[in-house]
């Protein structure tokens, strides 16, 4: 493999490791989701750009097809990851998953409470 894509893929793996450590170690659901979403979006960007660069450097029809389809896969991953995590966080908040006791404020609960009061 060429140098640049090796660097990109290794960086992506490091960020994936950070995300997994965050999912395992953070205290409540929302902080875990924050670690997972941010780190894994960056992981998918880095690894897929590494694959694209390597496929373009190798050349040939099959590798160009791999590069283009990897770009489509990156677009699908970016859209679906953000959307599904947003929906999951909202559903968890509505179904009553509680924040860690050290949390400072809960803006969504405050807004819901003021709407119900009116």
């Amino acid at each position: 493999m060429n140098f640049l894509s090796s660097i990109l893929i290794v960086l992506g793996l490091i960020f994936g490791l950070i995300g997994v450590i965050g999912v395992l170690r953070f205290p409540d659901f929302y902080t875990r989701m924050h670690a997972s979403t941010i780190c894994l979006t960056l992981t998918s960007i880095l690894i897929i750009f590494g694959v694209i660069i390597e496929a373009v450097v190798r050349g040939g029809m099959d590798n160009y097809v791999i590069a283009i389809h990897s770009f489509v896969a990156l677009a699908a991953l970016l859209v679906t990851n953000a959307t599904s995590n947003h929906a999951l966080a909202r559903a968890a908040h509505k179904s009553g998953v509680e924040l860690d006791p050290i949390s400072v404020c809960d803006k969504l609960a405050e807004r819901k409470f003021s709407e119900e009061g009116e």
């Binding site: 997994v20 998918s44 791999i66 699908a76 968890a92």
Partner: protein
């Protein structure tokens, strides 16, 4: 190099099964499966580069879209149903 990267991704997905087993709430488990699925998609793309066949990337795209749909369905059914708890009784 590519096979080693796939191995690292699989080890990370295996580590997530700790959160899948321990997770105190249902959204924690869904989050663990969701995160592991992203690792599977990335491993499929790397495997496609290893074998030089583009069909595995297409499999990865379809897999990503299907698990996105699954997560949305689970999120929809996690929410409390407003028609049952609030709205339904008032109109009749």
């Amino acid at each position: 190099m590519i096979i080693a990267s796939i191995g690292v991704l699989m080890v990370l997905a295996l580590l997530l099964s700790i959160r899948l087993i321990l997770g105190p709430t249902i959204p924690d488990r869904v989050l663990a499966v969701d995160t592991a699925n992203i690792f599977f998609v990335l491993a499929l793309i790397l495997f496609s580069l290893y074998t030089g066949r583009a069909i595995y990337v297409d499999v990865a795209i379809v897999y990503a879209l299907i698990y996105f749909t699954g997560t949305l369905w689970i999120a929809k059914y996690l929410e409390p149903d407003k028609r049952v708890t609030k709205g339904g009784g008032d109109e009749e």
